[in-house]
């Protein structure tokens, strides 16, 4: 298989990753040789070569059941991003983060490395009050320019509060799951498999939905 990143894209991503502050670790869970597993593995391997602050660990899910259980991994490919202390804060990607989703992927690397997004204080205060587990699924397609914004918001909330877990779900790879959640437009943001929002909504709209679940 040829390279996924051409020279121009590799150079652009390398330039952005140069802003990373601390090391991060990506843990990828794959299952055998499924197409998107291998493609996602290759994307992460190529990304790793673009910054010396990126560590990559690849797990075959059937050989790493304990690790998969620890991070509640049921879909493959799924990868999570840990900070320099090995802390997992619920930032997850299920499926291949290509197309427009390369932006939410690279943003999550930067922000997990310490280059955190600054929310207004009132948003930070509202997030701090969330004491119950919140699961956010953001269904995307790779041709959707509005989707990375929703994924980034969900991941930022996860980074702010350990009770929040946020997963980008690439709908074409997980079409059955998308059908279960009746996804026909993206981004569709699902909270605790109960409530949903459509579109790249502001963080306040995310919090309005979450607060109804508390």
């Amino acid at each position: 298989m040829g390279k996924l990143f051409n020279e121009e894209v590799a150079s652009q991503i390398k330039g952005v990753l140069a802003q990373m502050k601390n090391e991060i670790t990506i843990k990828l869970f794959i299952d055998g040789k499924c197409d998107t597993c291998l493609e996602t593995k290759q994307l992460l391997e190529e990304t790793k070569t673009l910054s010396d602050k990126i560590n990559l660990v690849v797990h075959e899910i059937n050989e790493s059941k304990e690790e998969a259980e620890k991070y509640d991994i049921t879909l493959t490919p799924t990868f999570i991003i840990l900070d320099d202390k090995g802390t997992y804060s619920g930032v997850r990607f299920s499926g291949f983060p290509g197309g427009y989703e390369i932006n939410s992927f690279v943003s999550s690397l930067l922000e997990m490395s310490g280059l955190r997004h600054e929310f207004p204080q009132e948003v930070v205060d509202r997030v701090a009050k969330i004491k119950e587990p919140i699961d956010i699924k953001v269904f995307v397609t790779l041709g959707c320019p509005h989707c990375p914004g929703a994924v980034e918001t969900a991941h930022r909330l996860a980074m702010l509060n350990s009770n929040i877990k946020a997963t980008m779900i690439e709908s074409q790879t997980f079409m059955e799951l998308a059908r279960t959640h009746k996804v026909s437009s993206v981004p569709k943001i699902v909270f605790n498999d109960a409530l949903d929002l459509l579109g790249n909504q502001p963080v306040e709209a995310f919090l309005d939905e979450i607060e109804t679940l508390l």
């Binding site: 652009q12 397609t141 959707c144 320019p145 509005h146 026909s184 569709k188």
Partner: protein
């Protein structure tokens, strides 16, 4: 395969600075205005969410001089490279939440909790998809009723879909969806108004049908779209067309909510501008799809942005 949009040289924004010119919007109007203002020596900042604006909703551009049939993302990359190579400061990933003018200075509030100040402002925040405003639409939005073909097309593989609209965006969406869906039916209220070359391409596709002078009067379905009710004005006849998806591609409505108490808008909510892109408020300019210029084209938005920047330069110089 990758639509990479992040910038490697994020400028440090000085929020205490008094800018000469701030362009709000990262579409062709805002970007070109920023370029022109910066080249005039104005202390300039371009502000917005994602580079590209409404170009992000488009697959290909066929009519921007110098680029024949260029993917929209490639054109956005060219725009961004030009801005970055010219070292025009740009603040991305923010939304504007308020604009006010106090003692000749514009104060712009952002959703990151910060404010910016400027002597002049270009408002170029584009538009949002226009809705049909028929019964069933709001209830079934996201349940088979969609507004972005490039985003939602994959959910309609091998399905029968309908496109409401007959302008360039509707015909572009048809080209995209005809590759995925089993059939695409175009329903246009008046007559197809898209560029002739594009219409001819689409007319040759075996799975595309077009109906003109036909109104969509209702979207039918309980939990998910099942069909649409239409009225064929030529045949003077109502009928129901079964479908699994409806893409609404009937243009945009201007994002002018922030200006409603600040400048004069027309009855469609568009900012009224003169031929210098001036609004009714001194120092505030508008360009692109927010204005009463009925021509919604990339090259026109870019040109109007340039005009606004040059007029802002005159305004500041004369003061």
């Amino acid at each position: 395969m990758f639509n990479f949009q992040l910038s490697s040289n994020k400028p440090q924004i000085n929020y205490d600075e008094l800018y000469d010119f701030i362009a709000l919007g990262l579409g062709p109007a805002g970007l070109n205005a920023g370029l022109y203002a910066h080249r005039k020596g104005l202390k300039t900042l371009i502000v917005g969410h994602r580079v590209g604006g409404q170009l992000l909703n488009t697959a290909d551009i066929d009519n921007y001089l110098g680029f024949s049939n260029i993917p929209a993302q490639k054109l956005i990359d060219e725009f961004r490279n030009h801005i970055e190579n010219s070292k025009v400061p740009m603040l991305t990933d923010v939304l504007v939440t308020n604009i006010e003018k106090s003692a000749d200075i514009f104060i712009i509030t952002l959703n990151n909790g910060k404010t910016l100040q400027s002597k002049t402002v270009l408002y170029a925040l584009g538009g949002s998809p226009r809705k049909l405003k028929v019964p069933g639409e709001d209830r079934l939005a996201g349940k088979g009723v969609a507004y972005c073909a490039t985003c939602d097309g994959p959910f309609f593989q091998d399905k029968d879909v309908i496109i409401a609209g007959g302008g360039n965006s509707a015909i572009d969406a048809t080209k995209d969806l005809a590759r995925i869906a089993k059939s695409v039916t175009i329903i246009e209220k008046f007559t197809i108004s898209a560029d002739k070359t594009s219409v001819e391409q689409v007319a040759k596709l075996p799975n595309v049908t077009m109906f003109e002078e036909t109104d969509v009067t209702e979207i039918i379905g309980d939990k998910y779209i099942e069909g649409i009710r239409v009225f064929d004005r030529k045949a003077n006849k109502e009928r129901i067309i079964n479908t699994e998806g409806l893409f609404v591609e009937i243009g945009s409505i201007p994002n002018t909510a922030l200006l409603k108490d600040l400048v004069e808008l027309n009855k469609w909510g568009e900012v009224i501008v003169n031929n210098k892109q001036e609004t009714s408020l001194k120092g505030l300019y508008a360009a692109g799809d927010v204005t009463n210029n009925w021509i919604r084209q990339v090259i026109v938005a870019a040109a109007d942005g340039a005009k606004a920047a040059l007029e802002a330069n005159n305004y500041i110089t004369k003061k």
